[in-house]
Symmetry: C2
Subunit: 328 residues, 2 copies
Amino acid sequence: MRQIESVCIAGAGAIGSLFAGHLGCIRPTRVLTRRAEHAQRLNSEGLRVSGKSERQAEILAATDPAKLGDVDLVIIATKATAVEATAQALAGHFPGALVMTVQNGLGCEDVVARYGDWPIISAVTFMSGVRHSDVHVEYELDTETWMGPWAGGSASFADVQQVAKLINASGLKARAFEDLRPAQWSKLLFNSSVNSIGAVTDLPHVREFARRDSIEALGHLVYDMMAEGKRVAATLGIELYEDPWEMNVQAVSRGSTGDEAYAHVFSMLDDVRHRRPTEVDWLTGAVVREAQRVGVPVPIHETMYRLVKARELSWRLDGKQGEEGSGT
Amino acid sequence: MRQIESVCIAGAGAIGSLFAGHLGCIRPTRVLTRRAEHAQRLNSEGLRVSGKSERQAEILAATDPAKLGDVDLVIIATKATAVEATAQALAGHFPGALVMTVQNGLGCEDVVARYGDWPIISAVTFMSGVRHSDVHVEYELDTETWMGPWAGGSASFADVQQVAKLINASGLKARAFEDLRPAQWSKLLFNSSVNSIGAVTDLPHVREFARRDSIEALGHLVYDMMAEGKRVAATLGIELYEDPWEMNVQAVSRGSTGDEAYAHVFSMLDDVRHRRPTEVDWLTGAVVREAQRVGVPVPIHETMYRLVKARELSWRLDGKQGEEGSGT
């Protein structure tokens, strides 16, 4: 049985910091950061967790994996858009480690596998946090992280169980699945729809996402888009763990007690507002590619994918636009 | 034969001002404005046209149609969003007049007909102007206005020919059609697609609207959306005057000589940027309603219609949004 004596978290945003802050209290924990200043502060001050749990972890951090020694588990916790660069940095390091990806959407495991022959664990996380500083993260939603062996690699279910056990021991919540795809696809279909719709309408997750009382009501779009995605999953033989439409209805009933002020701002909308590249290629784009591969028509996914890519393009053209005439 | 001795233009935006400035030099011309100050300036200074033609017209303007006497022709030149209020103001006035609508999209004639039994002429205009002030408009694109008898009313083709003759005599360009629908639908399908896509991507009419070189390329969306619209037109028995995809390709090749700075900013995008209600109900929404009536599936039109309506909704919720977490 594989023993996990030490870990490395690659990427210390909100999710990475939650893993590092908890695991750092029970195992020697390294953090690979992008910024040198971030690594320095973690080395001198450690990492604090507040909110749903209280932790103060010692951390060994660096921007170069060569300075972190070997570990038994690497968790890649960057955004999907940064996985390629992270995997490139990890190439040739941590030869004995399991590598776990926790990005939104599909396709990050394939990217990682191109840079090393680590056994790979797929994961999706439902927890959330707010990063107050480089050395302080607030644990907000204490929901589970789900994980399973990636079908394209050599990780076993026993490996996954070991990792889930360790994460549970640290005070976070984890669950091991022999086949993660039913859970992964439930979350994928939820996110590929609501995230892309939020990104182009500038709406957070308000009640209108579940309203279907008129022809122009937004809930029709969410429902029809998820129905497309469910046809793709069914064609792939994936039985969904949870119905994405029910996830949507539950999320907006939870969030809005008559007050829109606390509606969840999707990460893709947050990216659009800050003009950062979005994860649309791994979400809506991933569904489009899978649909094309199995021959299922998904006109709404194609539409949303192209709109978000075009919205990203608009930032590059910005400042170069003119001429507001009348007419069309 | 009906003689047109005097005219009234309702709404003096760019298009209304172009009609008033030209017709005002050959016929007694009244202008119905929304703002009293606008009417006062027109009465004291007249209306100047520069650019493709040079005119200085005397105008009798007012905010109340009762102060404008009777006329033989009323041209309603407001945006589609203001037609209902304008028709309401006109009710009971100008009993002997022909009324012509020149809005984008479908459905304004029905609105006007609810407020009076005037013979109604449908028109679509391809000209454009820039309104520099209440009393000065620049004539930019000197393209034609096309008109035909509205099928739901009593205007004859001879009436339409008289109006077209008068407009041509004024220095603008007009063409009379026995059946306007082929031209109206060509423009409708062009605008319902490119305007709604521009509105949610924040893109003016750049070359990407015609690019189809990758799965995420925006041209695929424009093409597929127009193909949907063409199926609706075909089912209605309307043979298009011009292919909307060709209109799109020509427009972006004209506009972009390697420089995106002069790409046309769609009126719907201009509305979104200024947070004004858009004309989407008369464009994309009109195609959705017609498609539903004749049973043609239009998932892309439904998607774009719902997205633009949701974008309008986002302004009403603005300032009430919070909580940018991580996670989804």
